[in-house]
Amino acid sequence: MSEPLTYSDEFLRGILAGVRAIAMVGASPKWTRPSYFAMKYLQEKGYRVIPVNPRAAGQDILGETCHATLAEVPGDFDMVDIFRASDAAGESVDEALALKDNKNIRVIWMQLGVRDDAAAARAEAAGLSVVMDRCPKIEYGRLHAELSWGGFNSGIVSSRRRRVRIL
């Protein structure tokens, strides 16, 4: 086993604050799948999430049309979120790297349990930010004190008053 990965809260905050559109590779139309949970949550937080999955291509998932490949997604997206097994993640990373200038891709995010150090190194060498073995939903919730509502250890200590928008 390789060393556990550590990412500073500042680094993760920066990514989550900068990204608007996310292509989610391995998104599922079944509501009990983890990818569906993450997609729905990220949508609620204002992100546009575009599902990518050849087995669900053409289907509607949470109001978005699912595409077979990253290349088929119309328009730009800032981040690729990979819901695939670790040994398949590299393929998605290379697909994203080939499209990075065309689609303005800046971030590769591999889900909890997904890790490919070699692919991460290729993406970083190409100038992208990389997160592995984390879930953007959990990290968003952790950094915005929502994870704490479920009794989870966020690791955050802060005496600053957060600014909240009253909608």
């Binding site: 809260d9 949970f37 509502w149 479920g150 009794g151 250890n153 009253i166």
Partner: protein, 432 residues
């Protein structure tokens, strides 16, 4: 300012801050008491997301409450765990801890030196669920290995046992649990996370009676289950509640969908939902206030207890003292290893003259309160054989360190000289 969970803030900082940021809408600095049962949904889609566990948020205070959640995060942080579930009492926490693991007909192994109430709960009441408890003398760890069956789902011990100054060899027990593919559950009530970081020694789950040192002032009953987040519930087929499809959530698998959050989510979304042993917000608030001073209190509790134990060891009317902090204790080495900051403040001693002298000593105290609790700022005294351990057989009482001559003390934070003087006068009056 925020640090990664790995680096972490110091224990004392987390006692005061973990889980409690300023309330963002009002700026209130101290944790608000959310004396409230239910939470308004934005719309039906938001409600559906909450009920499906797809988003974080509150539905109904039987499951989660904002004040209780602060306490949960604080205890999870102090123990170095992933998450925690607070509940109505320590005994509720024990049911809650085992609930995701046990099916009818399953068994678990528990130390025969647990708190008497736990022995009764495990040995008698759990039979009604067909949860079978095998009690073992865990000082001989081989006894535990021998008691394992294919249906054994957990090993349960106290890091420091109530009442007897007994320390469990957590690392050896953890090795056995790991081999068997089952979690080691540690009741860390008497030690608290300040004295014993039980996850570092291989515990997988920790339970607390927060009634004791965590709340600290004898104001609030409560309990808590803490998950380390490191046990793989899907590694074998022993734990279907966490690894198999959950019918009430349309076939969702907790371990797959929530990873290291699965156990704590299940504890709220299934165990509290259906067992209903929820902690009240006011009790969570009182317990949070207690925890803010935990390290200071524990240091003084331990210092006073050691001094009182030494005083009694040299007292002519005392037959023996069982305190793991004394050189004379057979648990001295285990205490040095697992409780280096102190061996707690609850211990027993034997009065010369047996049952009757024990009862009389307790009744002659003026400063010590005669009551059935531990871990208060006040010094407390009890004769276990006639009270907490009354429901046990004589054999069980002896094994649990609660024989006829045994007096249990919980040493408080009063002036040391006043504590020893009161014991001295009570022992003398009992002997006269």
């Amino acid at each position: 300012m925020s640090k990664d969970r790995k680096e972490g803030f110091g224990f004392e900082t987390r006692m005061i801050h973990a889980g409690s940021q300023p309330e963002p809408v009002t700026g209130a600095r101290q944790t608000p008491i959310h004396q409230n049962t239910s939470y308004v949904f934005h719309d039906t889609d938001h409600a559906a997301s909450l009920f499906n566990l797809q988003t974080f948020g509150f539905i109904y205070s039987r499951l989660t409450n904002p004040t209780v959640a602060v306490l949960e995060e604080r205890i999870a942080s102090l123990e170095g765990g992933r998450g925690a579930t607070a509940c109505a009492s320590g005994h509720a926490a024990q049911i809650m801890a085992l609930f995701p693991l046990m099916d009818p007909g399953d068994d678990f192994i528990a130390s025969n030196r647990l708190y008497g109430g736990s022995i009764t709960q495990f040995g008698k009441t759990f039979k009604k669920f067909d949860w079978r408890c095998t009690f073992a003398d865990v000082d001989e760890t081989e006894n535990v290995r021998r008691a394992l069956t294919p249906k054994t789902k957990a090993i349960f011990v106290e890091s420091l046992a109530n009442p007897g100054g007994v320390v469990s060899d957590l690392e050896s027990l953890s090795a056995i649990a790991r081999e068997a593919g089952i979690p080691l559950i540690v009741d860390n009530t008497m030690a608290t996370p300040y004295l014993c970081p039980a996850f570092q020694y291989g515990a997988d789950l920790i339970v607390h009676s927060t009634t004791k040192f965590l709340s600290g002032n004898g104001t609030s009953t409560g309990g808590c289950v803490v998950d380390s987040g490191t046990f793989d519930w899907a590694a074998n087929d022993k734990f279907p509640s966490l690894s198999a499809p959950e019918p009430a959530y349309h076939g969702l698998r907790f371990a797959e969908s929530f990873g290291d959050m699965a156990y704590t989510l299940h504890s709220h979304a299934v165990a509290l939902r259906d067992l209903g042993a929820t902690m009240a917000p006011m009790n969570a608030f009182q317990t949070l206030l207690g925890i803010e001073t935990l390290s200071l209190r524990m240091e003084r509790h331990c210092a006073n207890a050691l001094a009182v134990a030494r005083f009694l060891e040299n007292h002519e009317l005392v037959a023996w003292v069982s305190y793991a902090g004394l050189e004379s204790s057979p648990y001295r080495d285990l205490a040095k290893k697992y409780l280096p900051k102190g061996a707690g403040s609850v211990f027993t001693f034997g009065v010369k003259g047996g049952y009757e002298s024990g009862v009389k000593t307790v009744e002659a105290c003026e400063l010590f309160s005669h009551l059935a609790n531990i871990g208060d700022t006040r010094s407390l005294i009890l004769h276990p054989a006639s009270t907490t351990h009354r429901q046990l057989t004589e054999e069980q009482r002896a094994a649990a360190g609660a024989g006829p001559d045994v007096v249990r003390l919980s040493i408080g934070l009063e002036t040391l000289d006043d504590i020893t003087s009161d014991l001295d006068q009570a022992l003398r009056r009992a002997a006269s």
